[in-house]
Structures are given as C-alpha cells and as structure tokens.
Amino acid sequence: MGQVKSQFSEDELQDYEDLTYFTKKEILYAHKKFKNLAPEKVGHNKNAKLSMSKVLEYPELKANPFGDRICKVFSSSNDGDITFEDFLDMMSVFSDAAPKSVKAEHAFRIYDFDGDDMIGRNDLKQVIQRLVDYNSDLGHNDIDQLINNILEEADLDDDGALSFAEFEHIIDKSSDFINSFRIRL
C-alpha cells in the first residue's frame, strides 16, 4: 500500500475522488489493477499511456465484444490508448455508483461506430454482429428484420436512426441495462 501511495499525492487522490464515483481506496485499488496490465511501464510512470492491445488484456474488456470501442471512447487521445486517468474514468462510469444517464451517454458513444452522433442502421448491424460473434448463422434477412424491429420500437421520429434522446429513452425503460452495463472493480 505504501508503495502505491507514494505514486499519488494527497491532492491528486482528492481530485480523483471528487471527479469519479470512487473512494480513495477504490482509486488505489483501480491503480493496482491498471498496474497489473503493464507492471514495468506503470511502475515508472503512474500515468503511463498503455496501448489498446495492452488494455484489452483486462479480463472484462477482453471478453467484451465492444472492448475496442470502449477503449476508443474513453481514450483521451481518441486512438484507443489509455492512460490511468482514462482507465479511472472508464471504471467510474462502469461502477455501481454511476447513475443511469452517465452510463447511457457512454453506451451511446460505444454503440455509435461511425461517430455521427446517431445510431444508424450500420451501427445497429455492427452491434448485432458483435453480439452474436459474427460466425453464427444469423442471416442478413434476420439482421435486417431485427434492425427493423428495433427501429420500429425506438425510432420515435422515424428518421431511420436512433438519436441520443431516443437512446436515452430506451435506456430509461430498459431494466436490464443498468445491471448489465457494469464492471465490478
């Protein structure tokens, strides 16, 4: 513990505590986890930037079909590389304490593959394909059908894509989202 503590000043910890949904202890624990990804790098520089492939070794992200998207969304340099602060942001959003709206916002950006601030048909297609892991025999017809159903349900203004407001509306009504969009530290 003492060794970890030496990497952060009291002020920094206070900042982190104020700016995330974590307590100081949890922040230190998160740092330990971050350090485990690349001990030699983070040992030298507590805020070292890890490449996306390195971060994707984190077990939850590794198993997640949206792992790369998550990294990109939280990366402050927008290329998927993650510093400790980004990691802390990520874990804060995925923590139990984060409210639904914050989670919804990040989820929207994760699912918005082309970054046009709308979840369009292509985005949806990619989400579905990632969910079923590409190789299964979900035909194009099925996917199209599914996308049609989704849009029918949620695309309130009928413009063929989900805007953030519509997405937030879905999340408000979905009781599973808050449970599933969560990574325990």
Partner: protein
Amino acid sequence: MSGGKDRRSRASKTQGWEEAGGEFYQESYPADLEGMQRDPSKIATLLPSKQTRNATTRRVRPAQGQDTKGGTRRRASFSTVARRGSQYHEMQVATLPDLSENLINEERTWEEIREIKSMPVPMAQKREMKAQLQNATKLRLQGFEQIKWRRRKAWQSFRSKWGEYQTKLELWRMSLKTIEGNFGTGVVAYFLFLRWLVFLNLLLFLLIFAFVVLPHLVLREPSDLPCDLVTDPTSVQCCSEGYDNVTRTAQFSVLDLIQGTGFMEGTLLFYGMYTNQIYGYSPMEDRAYQTARHLRAMAAAAAANGSSGSVIDVGGLLEERLPEVDHQERQTILYYDLPLVYVIIIAIYYIITLVAIMRAVVRQFKDRIAEGEGLFYQYCNLVFGGWDFCIHNQKSADIKHKALYNEIKSLLYQKRFEHERNNRSREFMLKLIAIRMLINLVVFVILLLAAITIYVLFNVSLAELEPNFTPSHPVSFGEGLANRTLYMNWPSSWSVFSSASQRGAVTFASTITPLLSSLGDDGLTGAAGAAGAFNATDPAMDRLTLEEKLRVLFYEFLPYLAIVCMNLVVPQLFSYLVKYEKYSPLFVIKISLFRTVFLRLSSLAVLLSRFYFLITPMNVTQKLLLNASSEQAAEQVTTSTIAPTTTTTTTIPSTTTTTASFMTETNASFVADLTATTLSVLSKVLLEQQQQQQQQLPAAEPQTQPQLPVHQQQCYDEQNGAPQCWETFVGQQFYKLFIVDFATHFLVTFFVNFPRAMFARHSSSRLAKFIGEQEFELSKHVLDVIYSQTLCWLGTFYTPFLPAIAALLTFLMFYIKKFACLVNSNPSAILYRASRSKSLFMSTLLISFTLALVPVVYALAEIVPSRSCGPFRGLPSVWDRAIAAFMKMPLFFQNVIFYFGTASFAIPCFVVLTFFIYYYYAVSTANRHMVQVLKQQLVLEGHDKQFLLSRLSLFIKQQQEYQKRMMRQAAEQQHQQQHQQQQQYQQQHSVSGNSTSNVIPPPSSYQQGQPPIVPPPRTNSQSQASEPTPALPPRADRDSKPTSRDRPKDLPPPPIPASASGSGTGAN
C-alpha cells in the same frame, strides 16, 4: 396536458445556454460549419436533439446535473435543494446574464464540483473545470446557510464512508463477482436472492429470539400449581408434568440430533418447551394465598352462620375471593405474558415477511410498468442491454454469444410462430390439442401418484414407529379419492412392513402398553404411571441394537426421503413431456415451473393433511374435555349459589373482567382450577355437613357425574398414535424435512453431480458428455430454495428456531449452489435476464408464501393445542389467547375495533375503495390514450422535421449553386466586361459617347437566362443557416414538441421564404 407542461419546464431549464445563441455554435462547430457547407445532408446532425451531451456539456451543466439527480433515487434527498438552486441560477441568468457566473456561492460551487464527475469528458478536462470552479470568486455563505451546507457536506462524506464500509462488509462480494463473470447477471440475481433470504431469516429469527427465547432464558419461570391427581388427572398441570418427565429423562444421542426427538425435544428448539406461565406472576403463591384466605373465610362463615347456611356460604365465599384476587393483582403490575407475546410475535413474523416480499415484488412490478406495456422494448433491451459487461471469462463469453444468438432467433421466431399459429391446419390443431390434453392428464396422474406414495409411506413409517397407530380412524377416511385408494393398498403394505421389523415394534409395544394400562384403570396412578413408563422407555431404547436404531431412523425419514427423491425425479419427467406439447419457448419455462411448484406443494399438502388427521381425534376429546369442565363449573356455580342467583351471575363476569391474573391464565384452566378448588373445599372442609347439602343438590350431581369418564381420559389420544405434544411433533417433522432436504442437496451436489461433471470433463466420449454435462438451470435451483423457505414458514410456529436453522442452512446452501454453479455446470444456453428472473423468483415466493400461510392460520385459529405442552396448553385455540388479551383492552379501543367489523364501516369503505379504483382506472386509461396521441404527434413532428430538413438542405444546395453561378457569372461578367471594355476601348476609339449605358447590372441578364429559383432574401444567410432548426414553421402546439425546445429565440426569424414554410405545414 401534463406532458406538455413538463417539456416546457424542461425547455426553460435549458434556456441558460440557449441565451448564448449562434455564436456558441460557431464556437463549438467551426469545422462542422464548413463541413455542412460542403455536405448539406449533414445538417441533421446539428439538431440539438441529435447531440450527445459531449459537445454541449460545458454550457448545459446545471440542467444536466439536475437530470442525473432526478434520475438516481439515491440522491433524491438533495434534489429539491438542487432544483431550487438551479432555478435561482436560471432566474439570475435571465435577469443578470453577465453577473450570474460570479454570483455563485460556496455551496453551489461544491455542488458543481460534485457534478463534474457525471460529465463525459476526459479526466484532464474535468480537473481543469474543478480548478476553475475552485479558483472562481464566490460568495461565502452566512449564518444558517453555512451551517446547513456544512451539515450537507458532513452527511455526504459520512455516506461515502459508510458506503465504503458497506462494500467491505458485503457478504460474498468476491463470490458474486466470480459468478457474475462466468454466468452473467441473471444467475447472480439468484445468488442475491439467496442472500436476501439469509438476511430475512436472520432478521426474523432475531425478532423471535429477542421476544420469545430470551425472556425464557433470562426470566425466572414461576412454578405452576402442583398436579392434583386426585381430583383431576388430566388437568393442564398434570399433563404438563407428564410431558416434562418424558423430555427431561432423555439423554444425548447423535440420532436425536437429526431427528429432533429425545433430548432435542426438551430444548427450546421446539414449541413444547415454552411455558404457559406469565413471568412475574406466580399462580403458586397466589394459590397458597388464596387457600389461606379461603379457609379463614370458611371458618369465619361457618362460625357465623352455623351449619344450615353453608350453601350461601359458598356463594359468599366466591364473592369474598374476588377482592382478594383483585388486591393480589394490583401488587404485580410488571409481568411478561409469554403466550401472548408468542402469538403476537408469530403474527409480526408473517407480516414482516409479507411486507418484505411485497416490497420486492412491487419494485419488480414498477420495472415491468416502466418497461411499457409488457413487451414494449424487447428488441432494444436485447440488443443494448443484452451483453453483460461484467463477463470476464472467454468461455462464458462464447456461451453468452450463443445465448444471445438463441434469444434473437427465438424472438424472431416468436413473431413468425404467431403467424404460423394462425395458419395451422385444423387436423394439426386437433392433434395438438389431443396431445396436450393427454400430457396434462399424465401430469395429473403423476402428481396424484406422488401424493399417494407420500401418504402411504407416511402411514408405513408411523405404523413402524408407533404400534398403537391405527390408520383407520373415521376422519381420515371420510375424505377423497386418494385416501380411498390408500385404503385398498393399506393392509398389504402394513403387513409387509410390520413383519419386516417386528422386533423393533415389539420392544416399542412392550414399553408403551404398561403406560396405557396404567392410564386406563385410574387417575391416581395415571400420571405417575405415565412417567414411570416413559422412564422405562429409555433403557429399552438403549437395549436396541444399532441395526434397530438405524431401522427406526430409516422409517422415521422414509417419507421425507420419498418427497425429496420425487422432487428430484419427477421434474425431469415433466421437462421431458413438455417437449411434445409444442408450446412457445417462454411458455415452456413457465409451465414446467408451474408443474414443479405444484408437485412440491402437493407433497407438502399431503404431509400436512396427514398431520391433521393424526391430531384431530385428540382434538375431539380435548374439546369434549373443555366443554365438560366448563359445564361442570357452570353447574357447580349454579348449584352452589341457589339462593342469591343474581350475585353469582354478576360475580362471574366481574371475575373475568377485573382480575387480570385469571384472564392471563387460560380461560379453561381458570375454570378447571376454580372447579378443582371448590370441589376440594367442598369435599374436605364440609365433609361432615355434606349429607344435607348433597340432598339439596340432587339435580346437579347426576349431571356432573356422567361427565367424569370423559374427564378421566388421558391427556392425549394414545390409541390413535397421536403424539403427546403434537405441536412439537409437527415441528420435528418440519425440522426433519428441512434437514433431509438440505442433506440431499449437499449429497447430490457433491457426490452425484460432481463426479458426473468430472467424468464429462475428463472423458471425450459422447456418452460421458451426455451423462455428465449439466447446465445451470435457474428455475430448478430457485425452486429448491423456495421450497425450503416454504418449509420454514410452515414450521416456524412449532419450531421457533427454524428461521435460525433456515438462515444457517441457506447460508451454507450458497456455497453448495456456488459449487454447483461454478464447478459442476456450464452456463446455460438460455438467456437469463436479471429483471426477468428476479420477478420470477419473487412471484413464486409470494405464491408459496400465501399457500404456506393458509394451513398455519387454520392451525392457529381452529386446532386445539395439546394439553401437555407449549404456551397455549388448555386453550381451545391459539388465537383465543390474542382474543382474550384484546378483551382486556380499554372499552373504547375495543369499540373502535369492533366498529371496523360492522357493516356501517365496511360498506362505505367498500364504496369509497371502489370509487378510488374506478378513478385510477380512468386516469390510467386517459394516460394510455395520451401516450398514444403523443406518440403519433411525435411521429408527425418527425416527418415535419425531415421534410423541412430536406427542404433546407435543398435550399442550401441551391444557394451554393447560385453562389457558384454568381461567381461564375461574375467571372464571366468580368471577362465580358474586359471584353466589352476592350471592345469599348476599341469603340471609344471609334465611337465616343454612351459609356454609362454599357455597365448593365448582371442580375438582369441572370434573371432572364436562369430557371426560376427562389433567391435568398439576404446575402448573409449562409451564416444564418448554421442555426439548429432554422426551418421549423411556427405552430400553435410548439411547446409540446421536444424538437423545438432548443430553438434560439432571440435570433431573427428563419430565412425560409413564406411559400416554403407554408407548404411545409400544409403538407402535414
């Protein structure tokens, strides 16, 4: 129209940044502006409704912070303060836009810093914001405000600290994480449910422990009246003494530990050991005191009135006792009435359980409502909430992919299935219906067979253990089909089993026969004989060989083993059968669950009915007994008070109302006691003068005499094999069932399923895979837990320690199930959703709770408690204790309660409730209609928007083209001009003069040559086009449209020509 109002208020909240208007957009979208000019179709992304908060956070902050506040229930307590704050802020923005930033005080700064964390920006930016906020000048709070703020801050830090401790103390946190990582949230919901049950049981046990067990341990139990074998060998005291002797002599043995018999019976574990005495009030001292007073009074009366007036003496004596008792009562004010507490605590126990379940169910119900009308957002929910981000195991991730695939397929299939179902041919339908009916019949027969088997086995085991047990008492054969079939089966099985273990039976018979005979011949030796006989039972038990003991054990557990085995096997059969019924996938889960619940509950019902018939014959005698004693007392009173009838009739009620001591004693024991004392007094003191009195009471005595044979029966129905203390007996059965249930889970998990799983894992053959591979079937495991919980609810009254045992075993069950989950089984290919499975657990739990409550309530209200044990010995029913206590309450209170029961209260209440229901029904219908209307409006609005956007982009395109053309023309013109100039120059050289007429403005020539395109009204319209929704036409219902809420209001009207906007509104 509440929706519209809501939106308006929301719109007003976001005004803060709208004020900023156009320059803001130019600030934040310099690139987009250019991009839009290049690609007009991208204009849609500029609409405020299409923005993520990412881009707008900095300005939107106050409103957004509030959003998150409203969203989380946890911070609801602060929401009012925050709202006031931000409204205040908005007002400031409206009135003093420049100063608003500077006027924030410390509290607001603190709030805003706390809200930064909800912003989707990188940490560095957040830090910057925090620093900015901290460095900004701010007002210091004064006085009370300061204190309030401090308090809030302290409370907040305390909460976060507390939260930290809570997570540290959280039971099984790491286990849950592991399970979650491997099996997803649906399965974790099951384990959370287990944990919830552990805590519930623990809480309930603490309640029982604090109010029932602890007083028993701490307080000194007052000694009861001694057993008076001469006058009344079956008095409550005598029966209790007999039972006490039985239990006290038992010695420790391991077998007893699991059977709950022997020494276990004598512990506080079971109902039988709780006293019927009131702590702080001793009937012994009271009795002694009374007898002394009584004798003195008798002597005095005898001296005064002489021998002739002795009848009146008795009357006077009764009267005289009253003030004595009254006096005695006043001395002991502080007392602890255990029987009353017992019944109240049990009632509270069930109420707490109900409330706990209801709370959970209601939360689920709310979720269901929020989800919309049942299956409203099922596709979105599946796609966006389908992946469990917590999964960290590659293998389970693969299975999750598969499960999601299955779910998607089945969802799509369901839609087609519905279509298909409508198109089924008639023959097919007939066949299907026939198959379904057949299978339902088979299921019914299986259930019936199961019930019968349990019934038979229970009889067999009872026959083995208690040779006096005769299965053919009238009540049990007065009922249904099952019993009649049983009657056919009975003799054979009886003979088989009795011959098989004759030796054990003989030993039992030999020990119990003397007891019977001693009880039979006379009352004097009855209780002593009973005690002796039971003392003799123990050496006899010791003499049994181990084999015999095991045999006894086997028979003792036979029915429970059968129940548990059936619970293991039959559901498999059901799940096999259900395949042929071709139900939709979701319905298959439901119907197999329903059938399994039915199986388990029916086996329990058989068990309960068996208990009931075991108990009832005794009930009949007990009721007779009670009637006899009360009649006797009444007669005694009438006979002894011939002369002043009025005085006695007044004394009896006054006794019951004024003397708390007698009331807290049981009614019957009071009567019996009274009878006993008066009788003994009559026989002892007035023995010499009896002759004349006996002649004076010829009418009464013959009536009392015939009652005596009934009176002299035993404390319990030995002939029919009824247990001495049936409550304890029932408690023992539940205890056994509970333990057997737990043991089976343990054994099956570790000694059957574990080897199976190992076998499957280390062998590659297909057979091994078939035998060994197990899925974690949630519904089965849920049923296991709910079943044991139902047992706990059924047995708590008779085994007050059962909640503690349940809590402990559920705690251990967690580990068993964890092992079953993580080691034995693979993740299921069925997708379990957390919300769906939670509501499944809770509704099943609620059903079984209500069903478990029925027999318990019946038993409390109707069945006569046994005379020899428990806090309610000698009462006609348990509930009488509560009624008696109620009758002692102030008259006003009683009247109020009684009023609730009258028609004058019930009918208006009913009417009012009906009105309320109707009102809420109407409101909900109106709301549903409103939702429909709004949805349609939204769609229309969306069409409007799209139309206008396309117009706008077309317009921009035209403008760009126009510009290009203009430029081209300008270039051309220049060229022309140059050309002309050249020509002019040439002409000037040739012809001098009209140079001014040559500078013709190009538009005129353009207008001539171009098709009629709508020209832009202003030249600077390009910058205007960057506004978010410049093209929306003004409409009356503007306010209710979310798309319009962010429209800047202080900007000039949209530069669309009147014709375009007119056609826009007209088209829709």
